[in-house]
Symmetry: C2
Subunit: 158 residues, 2 copies
DNA sequence: GCATATCGTAGGCGCATACCCATAGCGGGT
DNA sequence: ACCCGCTATGGGTATGCGCCTACGATATGC
């Protein structure tokens, strides 16, 4: 027998942030794979989520909300538009602005994306029961809320 | 007043995996910034961690343990070697192999890197008290352990 | 002794993410 | 009427990461 060649260095495992990073990355890449099957990336899903949850946005608003560069938003909307998932409409009161909204197709697809996300979640959180998942969620919500605001030292994370 | 333009779409916040991903990413990039100040990347730290915690490795072992391609390991060791943080030595019993070990300088630096990591952690986990942090760690450890093994559906995450 | 497998090395590719700058169109204030 | 600022857009760059191929040196199995 041999020492497990797979085990992670203990001093990393001792860092909660390392665990967050590692498990989070795993969850993200699993979902990303599923989205890729549909020709989408995570950012596309984020944009759809914002539009479905919070209604139509001007592109600049999307950029702020999702912490994505304006010029990158353009490309994402281009792609979503080409797939018929969102509609662009010039704002009549301020013709510089473009209002983006989900199309019915986009809304329907987002339902399926959420199902994908929940499937991944069930997979990742398999070892935890409902109570434990709830506790984990609560703790992470607090951390997330904290990071959302001023958030300590640097800007980081974006 | 206006609706907070910053708030994250609720249907994403409802996903625990999203929270893990988001907070983990934030933690990771914060640490990455600090490492960048020292001219290092996360992978360098991971390699140092493995060497400090678990002793000298043959390069292939590092690749397996850290789930990094062996051709990428080469470059990382090159860089760590150039900085005098690790030593390469040809294995006498199998001259194909190269054994890598931390130098005293590398060991000393790793201490400082760990301090960096803990500083980031304190920053990120600021809203949680010691008990809560412990609970979070425990839950994430279970998830991490689960992902480490067979881990559900796909390979993903790496 | 020869074929096959393993190890380190070198080089390159593709992708997602993150930025940055310049331009053209439009609104608002003066 | 004019200037300034904001909007979307288009283009470009850099980085980190993951992955893949080819090759020479060496070990190992037959």
């Amino acid at each position: 027998m041999r020492v497990n060649e797979n085990e992670t260095p203990p001093s990393l495992l001792g860092l909660t942030t390392y665990l967050m990073s590692r498990t989070g990355k795993s969850a993200r890449s699993r979902l990303a794979e599923r989205l890729a099957d549909r020709g989408l990336r995570l950012r596309h899903m984020a944009v759809l989520a914002a539009l479905v949850d919070l209604g139509p946005h001007v592109q600049r608003e999307l950029a702020v909300r999702l912490a994505i560069d304006r010029s990158d938003i353009v490309k994402i909307i281009d792609e979503l538009g080409a797939a018929g998932l969102v509609d662009r409409a010039r704002d009549m009161t301020d013709r510089r602005r473009v209002t983006v909204s989900v199309s019915p197709a986009g809304r329907a697809l987002y339902d399926r994306l959420q199902a994908d996300a929940r499937a991944v979640q069930d997979d990742v959180l398999a070892p935890l029961n409902a109570r434990e998942r709830a506790r984990l969620t609560t703790l992470l919500m607090r951390v997330h809320g904290h990071l959302q605001d001023g958030a300590g030292a640097q800007r980081a994370g974006r």
